[in-house]
Symmetry: C2
Subunit: 209 residues, 2 copies
DNA sequence: CTACTGTATATATATACAGTAG
DNA sequence: CTACTGTATATATATACAGTAG
């Protein structure tokens, strides 16, 4: 990122903040007013400077059509990402702050854009042998079926939710913790809420096992 | 997410895709043309339907000023996220596909928006005891200093890059693998390239240790 | 009546350009 | 000359509305 002078930095920041806040770009008049230019004629030359520095793209003769250029042109746009947002409906898994995690679709080709995905904070050590530790953020694809060996997020006996490995042999379902010191569950009633597709670790203190 | 009829779904998808692709909204004429409406007069009524369903926000009399409403109003905008993009400069760590990972700032309050962050794919099992396995995506904050016990990404002897735990006692620097079966490195020359702040796991096959 | 079409028009908006200060 | 100001104007764009099909 080349350095901008303070004036252009202010303009650039205004543009990015406006676009992030509104979802569309400011008009030249709005730019003039926000930056305190005495004339609207100053807007285009300043924008051209930013464009020359490859910070923005001006679409001539189009209204509110300034684009912010990302560092790389091949950066996936939002549409090419899968976003996991948290929900607040889990007994075993707390933490009510808002979280979101977005990753490139290329990282999870199995997920299509119609999938409903969410993130939960893991509580407990029942899955440490699968690399999911207490405090990790678990990325879940919402679905109501699962295959053997999937790691599922499920509602058990209408009572509690849990994250375990799903094993089905004939009609018998086993939920296996990935932790040698813990016991398997043989649920009478199970509702699969989702399948774990990823795990985001932001602390490495619990990682030692 | 309430269900939309196919016609409104098509319109909604066009709007989101256009905005994601261009960074600004389409004009009414562009909408007419894309959706095949015979008259531009059809655009506003259709948009109003979407707005009534709380899918978009129309800004009357403003050009290209349609906003997509997110599920939650408190969803962090792009500005509130930290984005890790991959780079292609690492001997020990391959994989040249483009990847990006964005997470809410609330998840990593220690990182400010001026930090340069990137993502690398982990190769090898030298950090499995810290929960970082072969194939995991390592989130790195670019910086050239580190504290004892940080997990660093560093260039050693001007020859190779590695990910290890950083220990400094007086002037003596030790790079410790988090894997009992591997040996520590005592580098003569070390250049710290970044500190590991997170790890994204998208496969659980290697997680068993 | 509903559900559109087609076009005129008002408004928003970017651009052009003559003028001015230093 | 540069670096602006101020304003007129062309263009982009959303809106209004009379007309039409069924």
């Amino acid at each position: 990122m080349k350095k901008l002078n303070p004036e252009l930095t202010e303009l650039y920041n205004f543009l990015t903040e406006f676009i992030n806040m509104h979802g569309f770009a400011p008009s030249y008049r709005e730019i003039q007013s926000a930056l305190g230019y005495k004339s609207i004629s100053m807007v285009k030359p300043k924008l051209l400077e930013l464009e020359q520095l490859d910070k923005i793209k001006i679409n001539n003769y189009k209204s509110r059509a300034i684009e912010i250029k990302t560092l790389k042109n091949d950066t996936p746009k939002h549409a090419d990402c899968i976003t996991f947002e948290n929900i607040n409906e889990c007994s075993a898994i707390k933490d009510f702050q808002y979280h979101s995690v977005s990753i490139s679709k290329t990282l999870l080709p199995s997920i299509n854009s119609h999938s409903n995905c969410f993130v939960l904070k893991m509580i407990g050590s029942s899955m440490t042998d699968a690399g999911i530790n207490d405090g990790d953020f678990v990325l879940i694809k919402s679905q109501n079926t699962a295959k053997t060996n999937d790691i599922v997020y499920a509602l058990i006996e209408d009572e509690f939710t849990t994250i375990k490995k799903y094993i089905k042999k004939g009609e018998k379902i086993t939920l296996l913790p990935e932790n040698k010191s813990m016991k398997a569950i043989f649920p009478k009633k199970i509702e699969i809420l989702g399948v774990i597709v990823g795990c985001l670790k932001l602390s490495f203190n619990n990682g030692k096992n």
